[in-house]
Amino acid sequence: MCIITLLLISIVVGTGPSAQSEQGQSGGTIESIEQVEETSPPREGTPLPTLSQARLAEFKLADTTGAARGLFDQDGPDLVVVAMISTTCPIANASIPEIRRLHDAVKKVGGRFFVVHPMVATTAESASLHARERQLEMPVLLDPQQQLVREFKATVVPEVFILTRSDVAWTLRYRGPFDNLYAEIGRRRRNATKAYARDVISQIVTGRPVPVAKRPAVGCLIEKVGKGSP
């Protein structure tokens, strides 16, 4: 992983010619033809999901100290990454090192990164213990009412959401797994061979198209709160 990390950092930091160096490296395989065909990239005319600044600005979630935090502030950066995880899902936990790498990559380019816990049973205490144990240094938020879950139509953890803003609209550039560590529940590779989310960050930063905007997330089902209500 070290080599890949270094490579991506150099891409993300240095734009322009150095970005070319990614071609043919493991980060670049994401754009191979078969990949693109298999997951059907956004075709022209299929707009990416967008959300207005005004709407997303409403989203305030409590962090582990209880303070309300906005995720999509008016005066914040134009890149926001949300990682939905849980404290107990083994698939989410196995992704923690990759979450830290992604956080580093996002921080380097000036974006904001949030961890969000959507599981009903997660408390501020359990989330902060989890973050401490696993050295998560980004803001960790709780979504006990599953507001963001509904907004993003999230169904499982872990899933990452990468959004960028232009003018007053946010576009969901990518949603899905961080990488290909898990093909499905119980089918785990020893190590991921594709870093989907980090690749998307570098594509965004270098102004290249993001070929695959959505991949099926693999993980633990989010039990919906207030079942029965529409």
Binding site: P90, N93, A94, S95, A121, E133, E184, R190, N191, E223
Partner: protein, 439 residues
């Protein structure tokens, strides 16, 4: 609670009764409650592992914990993923399956609003594995650190295993009838495989490696690791049927191979092994290992291919008391066949969806008698395509492995019926295993 459930039922009937004709075929059965049914289902089927300090990633000991992820639990059970149990046929000890009626009950409970029933919600208790008499304790002197994720540098080799040599230094032979493994980090530990060793291989490997234990390995001379049993962490002790024992020569070591899976944080591997011995006055027969193995694997990228072990024809009658499979990660399925002298063929083990991280020794509930002249063989379906999600290499690469790596084998644990056959068994078996351990 009963009143509440009734009330909801009545209400539903009332509402639907007004708008549409009443459904006659939908019986208005009250959902089962946590206290009367669901708690005990979860307790027997899941809580042995899903309790604090156990192998499962979260506890399912309370009604809240189950209710808060009920849909996911049902999904995972229906996918056949939980409780973990690989064999399709056969009747084995620790058989962890869940009848469809119990799954429907859990679903009905969730759909019915997860009622608790009478009294306060029952807190479930993790069962303690039956009476184990600890005669010997072996403990790692220090911990080995399991990294937070696998080291990608090891891709094509066997990874995420750590060998440990436990000196026994027994001054007299031992008769071991059960092995218990106590994991220091139960959520990271997957499989422990054992081999009693008189060759000093374990010591040698241990001395050469500056850490506690040694990387990889675990085969002791000609004896493959797993020859003396394998335990899936959380699945209970490895116990031979009454009347059988693992013979341990004097001056032995126990070589153990621990297979772990990084959990995303650094964990400690500092295992304890306990041995239970056959009481002095009890008659018992020695259990010997017999390899059904493929010595060499050569498979090109993007190829799917079945390998079958050398056929072993038993020279004397034996009782089969265990089957311990081991196969590289690209193995999709494996099976073991016995062809009796009459020509009748019987599948004695079938694993349709192999998972390297869920293997264990399968102990038939009653030993299987195999008469002289019976042929045994194991088959392995390998899928070395890039699409196989368990292929550690993506894209797939050609795999060439052999010699002592024990890439594909099922160890049959057997005991000779006649003492005379046991006398010649070891020499006969060693001739067979030379072929794959020293090709």
């Amino acid at each position: 609670m009963i009143w509440a459930a009734l009330f909801i039922t009545l209400l539903n009937m009332g509402v639907s009764g007004q708008a549409t004709p009443p459904k006659i075929d939908a019986p208005t059965v009250e959902p089962p409650t946590w206290n009367d049914q669901i708690g005990s289902i979860i307790e027997t089927r899941c809580v042995t592992c899903h309790a604090p300090g156990r192998s499962g990633p979260f506890s399912l000991a309370t009604s809240d914990a189950v209710q808060n992820r009920a849909t996911f639990l049902i999904e995972v059970i229906e996918a056949g993923r939980m409780p973990p149990w690989l064999p399709r046929a056969g009747v084995f000890e620790h058989q962890r399956t869940i009848p469809a009626s119990e799954v429907s009950a859990i679903r009905a409970w969730r759909d019915g609003g997860s009622p608790i029933g009478e009294g306060p919600p029952k807190i479930l208790v993790a069962a303690v594995d039956g009476a184990f008499q600890t005669d010997l304790v072996l403990q790692m002197p220090a911990a080995y650190e399991i990294p937070e994720e696998s080291d990608p540098a090891w891709h094509s080799g066997e990874l995420d295993v750590h060998g440990v040599n436990f000196p026994l230094q027994n001054s007299a032979p031992l008769k071991v009838r059960a092995i218990r493994h106590v994991a220091a980090a139960p959520r990271a530990m997957k499989v422990a495989a054992f081999a009693f060793d008189t060759t000093g291989t374990g010591r040698y490997l241990d001395d050469r490696d500056s850490r506690v234990g040694f990387l990889m390995g675990g085969d002791a001379g000609l004896r493959p690791v797993g020859a003396d049993g394998m335990i899936l962490n959380g699945s209970g002790d490895f116990r031979l049927p009454v009347g059988f024992h693992l013979p341990v020569e004097r001056g032995s070591d126990l070589v153990a191979q621990f297979q772990y899976r990084p959990t995303g944080k650094v964990e400690r591997l500092q295992e304890r092994i306990e041995l239970e011995l056959v009481p002095e006055d009890q008659e018992s027969r020695p259990v010997r290992w017999l390899p059904l193995a493929v010595g060499r694997v050569q498979i090109d990228a993007e190829v799917v291919k079945t390998y079958t072990s050398k056929e072993i024809v038993l020279e004397g009658a034996v009782d089969l008391v265990g089957l311990s499979p081991r196969a590289i990660e690209i193995c999709k399925s494996l099976w073991v066949d016995a062809v009796f002298p009459s020509g009748v063929r019987k599948r004695i083990l079938e694993i349709p969806d192999w998972d390297h991280h869920q293997r264990e020794t399968y102990v038939p509930v009653t030993p299987i008698r195999l008469s002289a002249g019976t042929t045994l063989m194991a088959s392995f379906l390998l899928d070395n395509t890039s699409e196989n999600p368990r292929n550690p290499d993506d894209p797939a690469v050609p795999i060439r492995r052999g010699r002592r790596t024990g890439v594909l084998n099922v160890i049959a644990q057997v005991a000779a019926v006649e003492p005379e056959f046991d006398d010649v068994f070891v020499a006969w078996r060693d001739r067979i295993s030379q072929a794959f351990m020293r090709p």
